[in-house]
């Protein structure tokens, strides 16, 4: 009987010993791995990049094909072209608005902000993780560093570089839960009443990421009038990004008179599913 008891104790202690050894080995391994995290991740992305890019392109074309099947026609492509054209026009509207407000000096800077004066580095999109962080195939070797703004060809803001490896970078999208962007409401950005030119004071607010490629507009003073379809562009008080970059369009406002600020549901301009290349502004300094 005594022998049986001893045996069970030994068996139990063996199990604990195994767990302890496993935990120690695992902890040591993770500790060593984290010392070399930058070169490890960079090498991993370098190896994975061609396959990942292939999957990305395959997903893009498959989803486009599926969308066109579902819409029973070429609505998807047409819609995409219209979106791009619309974004270009909205970008021009945002630029012209400054001129109309009579500040020539400001408009010169604004024109600069329309990307012409910026040094841009083109980067290919290779992946997206759950936290709305995008992977691009350019890194510190290409002159990229943390905090640099990332935009599309049409001047649509995507986000900023959050982490840089030698040949790769991570871009924190505007929809990331930790992202906050100062924006202004473009007064006649296609609102239903926007046909007439009105010189209303600038309405400032912030676009906060909500994850899942979504965001919302917040901190708009309750007294300010915003409308669905109004366009949001980066404001002059924004430190991380150049001004007048396209951010989103207002879908529905949520006004509560008991609160000092109003919120709004918005639709971000960036379309991650339709983008292959992005541009990193490497020389923007505030």
């Amino acid at each position: 009987m005594k022998g049986v008891k001893d045996f069970s104790i030994n068996k139990k202690s063996n199990g604990w010993l195994k767990i302890l050894i496993g935990a120690v080995v695992l902890s040591l391994f993770l500790f060593v791995v984290n010392i070399f995290v930058l070169p490890i991740k960079n090498s991993f992305y370098t190896i994975s990049s061609p396959i990942e890019k292939t999957f990305w392109t395959a997903g893009e074309s498959s989803s486009g094909f599926l969308a066109s099947l579902l819409s029973a026609g070429s609505f998807s492509e047409e819609n995409q072209n219209l979106k791009i054209e619309n974004q270009k026009l909205l970008s021009q509207v945002a630029s012209l608005q400054s001129i109309l407000q009579g500040n020539q000096a400001q408009s010169d800077v604004s024109a600069t902000c329309q990307n012409s004066g910026f040094k841009l580095v083109m980067a290919g999109v290779i992946g997206l993780d759950e936290d709305d962080v995008l992977s691009i195939n350019k890194g510190s070797a290409n002159g990229l560093s943390e905090g640099m703004p990332v935009i599309s060809q049409q001047g649509v803001l995507f986000g900023k570089i959050s982490k840089v490896y030698k040949n790769f970078s991570k871009v924190m999208l505007v929809s990331n839960k930790n992202s906050i962007v100062n924006v202004k409401v473009s007064p006649f950005g296609g609102s239903p009443e926007g046909g007439q030119q009105s010189f209303t004071p600038e309405i400032d607010g912030v676009v906060k990421g909500s994850g899942g490629l979504g965001a919302y507009l917040d901190l708009i003073p309750i007294s300010s009038e915003i409308n669905p379809q109004d366009v949001l562009v980066t404001s002059t008080i924004e430190k991380s990004f150049p001004k007048d970059l396209l951010v989103a369009r207002i879908i529905q406002k949520e006004k509560n008179d008991q609160k000092p600020f109003q919120k709004a549901q918005i639709s971000l301009f960036f379309d991650i599913k339709a983008v292959d290349n992005l541009f990193v502004v490497t020389n923007y300094k505030r």
Binding site: G22, N34, V37, E52, W56, G127, L128, E130, G211, G214
Partner: protein
């Protein structure tokens, strides 16, 4: 034997790549499925093996999840190891001889453990960086869980059809030939 482990590693790698590139284009309400976790759970559910196998599966799945995330390497490895041991204990209590009953507890357990993994991950990150904020439930949580569980269910039936081999106690095995 080593071939089996190599195949598992390659499968995890492919699933991680698909999750972060291909399935991004098929997001539902902003959510993409967690393929790596689905595969991890599937193997954990069907595979027999001791502590080292559990650690191996947790380490491989965790490393691929961490390599594609923006945080420290090892967070997912530790969390998956913890959850894997809990799951194995729970499975030992639940396992019965009714073959059809397996799916009945496979899917609910998958959803519970995926939610637990995400919640623990957020808690872990919050512990190191409080500025990140802590929110266990968000708009995309439900679509994420549903989408991932659909993939998990599909994997379950694919595994059962092509790889499962009945044994004496009707447990299923992978690559046990």
């Amino acid at each position: 034997m080593w071939k089996k482990y190599l195949i598992i590693i390659i499968l995890f790698y492919l699933f991680a790549l698909l999750q972060n590139s291909f399935f991004v284009h098929f997001a539902l309400f902003g959510a993409s499925p967690n393929l790596v976790f689905a595969l991890f759970f599937l193997l954990l559910f069907f595979e027999r093996g001791g502590i080292y196998k559990v650690i191996f599966l947790s380490a491989i799945a965790g490393i691929f999840l961490d390599l594609f995330s923006d945080y420290y390497l090892g967070v997912s490895v530790l969390l998956l190891s913890l959850l894997a041991f809990l799951f194995k204990k729970l499975l030992a209590l639940l396992r019965n001889d009714e073959e059809g009953a397996q799916f009945v507890y496979y899917l609910p357990l998958f959803i519970i453990f995926l939610f637990a993994y995400n919640a623990l991950f957020k808690l872990f990150i919050y512990f190191f960086d409080a500025s990140k904020g802590l929110m266990f439930l968000s708009e995309e949580t439900i679509p994420y869980l549903i989408y991932s569980s659909l993939v998990a269910a599909l994997l379950f039936y694919v595994y059962k059809k092509f790889f499962a081999k009945k044994t004496d106690n009707r447990q299923l095995r992978l690559f046990n030939r």
